[in-house]
Each structure stands twice: as C-alpha cells, then as structure tokens.
Symmetry: C2
Subunit: 226 residues, 2 copies
Amino acid sequence: MTEPTQKFSEDERRGLYRAIYERRDVRSQFLPDFVPDEVLARILDAAHHAPSVGFMQPWDFIVIRDAEVRGEVHGNFDAASRRAAETYEGERRKLYDGLKLAGIVDAPLNICVTCDPQRSKGSGLGRKTDPSVALYSTVCAVQNLLLAARAESLGVGWVSILDFDQLRSTLGIPPHLTLVAYLCVGYVSEFRPQPDLQEKGWETRSALAEVTHYDRWGMRVRGGQE
Amino acid sequence: MTEPTQKFSEDERRGLYRAIYERRDVRSQFLPDFVPDEVLARILDAAHHAPSVGFMQPWDFIVIRDAEVRGEVHGNFDAASRRAAETYEGERRKLYDGLKLAGIVDAPLNICVTCDPQRSKGSGLGRKTDPSVALYSTVCAVQNLLLAARAESLGVGWVSILDFDQLRSTLGIPPHLTLVAYLCVGYVSEFRPQPDLQEKGWETRSALAEVTHYDRWGMRVRGGQE
C-alpha cells in the first residue's frame, strides 16, 4: 500500500469530494467582488497541472477582465441563445426562456481556454492512435480549474452557447487553435444545493447503476448478463 | 461573500490541491491488491458528478476485472505501441523504448469511459453551437475519477496508445458511442514526486506565464502588449 505520508487525512479527502459534489455551474449568483491575483494564479496553476498526453500541455488561458471585451462576448452569447431558443416549442420553450444561461457581464472575470493540437511539446507521444487526446488534456485542465475555484469559494459558469468563429475574432485567437471553454468566474452569494437545470425542472440526474457495465458493454452485474 | 458553512477549511482546501498536484499517470507502480467495491463506487460516483452540458450526463463506465479481457486489451496496446515506436529515431527512439506506457495487466482494475453524443438527456441544451461539448463533459468525468482515485490512494494510468476499433470490438461497444478513455486503476507502491515523462527526460513542464494571456490573445501583461 502507499506510504503513510502520501495518504490523505479524512479532512483532505473530504475536501476533494466537497469540491466535486458542491461545484455548481453558476449563472445567477455572481458578485462583482474583485478576484485577487494570487487566487487567480492558484486556479490557473491547478489547471496547468492537469494530465496531458505525452506531457504535451496543449492549453492556453486568456484571462479577460476588460468590460468592453466581455460586453462583446455577451452580445455574441445573446444572439446565439436567441437562435437556440427557436428550436424549442411549448413547455420546453417556456422552460428555456426561464433559464439564465450565462453570467458573462455579471462575473468580474472571464477565462477562455484554448487547445493547440499542433504543439510540439510531448513529441507526439500517445497522439497517434487518437488525435482527440490533445483536446481531452485541455478539458482536464478546465475541470481542475472548476474544482480549484470551488475550493476558493469562486463560482464558475461554462458557456457553450456562443458563435465560436465570432469569439475567435473578438479574442484574436490564431486559426489552428481550438476554443475549448469560455468560463465566467467570480465570488457568489451562495452555491445552490442542486444543479440549476435540476432545480428548474430541465433534467434529472440518472442513477449511477444505469451507466455502469461490467467487463463488457451491457453486462449489468459482475460476471452476469443484463 | 459565501456563507461560512459553504467555505472550505484549510485542510479541505489542501486536500483538493494535493489531489491535483500529487496525481500521477501511473504505469509502473501498480500492486495487485483488490480494490474494494465501495472504493470503486466512490470514484465512479465522483465521475458521475462531473459537469455536463445541459445536464446531459453522456458518459458510461465499463469496469473490467476479467483477466481475459484485460489480456486482449494488452495485446492491442502492445501492437499499437510497436507501430508508434517506428515513428521515432535515434535518441528519441531509445527514450521511447525505455518508457513503460501502460499497466493494463498489472493493475487489477481497468475502466473504459465512453460518450454517447446522441443521448436525449438535456434535450440538446448548449449542444447546438459546438457538438464537441458532450465529449468534453465525459472528459470532466474522467478527471473527477482521476482526482478521487488519488484521494483514495489509488493510482490511475490513462492509455491512449490503442487501436480503438479493436477495443470497441473487444468490449462490444455500440458504433454510435465514442471511446474517450481507457484507464488502469489500482493501489500503488508509491506516487512518484514528478511525472514519469519528466523524470525520464521526455518533456519538461512549461511556465504558467508562457500559456497565460490577458484580455486578448498574445497580450502578456494586464493592459499591455507582448
């Protein structure tokens, strides 16, 4: 077994699980309070310590505090969200219209996370059989950032309803990079006990057993068939 | 600011950061010790509580303990790794040949994580402007699992050098799903202080400042130009 010094104490273990279970995708509870540079540095450094294929570290972080830039991104989101709304009808449309889906302007800090799939670091190790793994590494960095933010009492909202070509132009991102995540970051009035989309009746959490298989797809009990 | 009860204690915050900084991609240090069902359930449930676009929860987990299945996957990896080796020459090739790149058979437990991009949960919310977000949600689940494993003193190795068509056939995974991650999981003799690929001289960690920009791409100081 592992060395005693490498084991987690009960409190440390609880901290990791609290971050996972109490993290929320925040849209409505942002406070305007300034996020100190040292706190920002901690969540970015946590992201930078994500696993990456071949130790490639394919990510970049664009930290956005400028109100003009955030205003432009908000306009982008607003138009994209109106286009998306048109695809829902009846009760779903009413539910959609009642959702707040981004806090781009409310949050004092936005972070855009990109992936450079051509980065030479790592010398291509592990990237030959599935080129998506560079993207996956970047998403691991995002998830580290989300969890570190929760431990720092910061809320984060991940905005995916955006015209990404327009966002690329707003932020001046080179054409060969992939825009992976646009995040709104700030202190919050509270962390809600349940995900927003569960609370508002958009969707429910599935049971873990429904998404678990044993040894081969579709085997729902160990050593047995469904 | 947040309610006092929602804040993390110092120990809890350290626990989250320890998981992030002390997580290693493990290939060489696996012990054969059985991973108890309740520990497995905790790391899977942590994965299941990842953020997902529209609360879609597009992931499935195939838990593999069967030695025959693991043997077949190991053969798959072995052939793929030999093909990859041919792409390196000279010093790089020597370095490559000295790396241990998977613990599929050494680890008592393997977990394959898949993504169903067509899952109806979430009603398509947030998936219209970038369909990759379903994949990204699944990767967030993987990263939660990696961190929870570290807090449980379990090592995990993410194997990306595989023929994924062959893996799909071995595990019987339906054609419309994406195979996102193949993980080797087990207790370990130790967690190394540095990533394997750093220790072995394959790659170095970049400085955080090299991958951080302010307000727009390429601006390296706040309010200034590179």
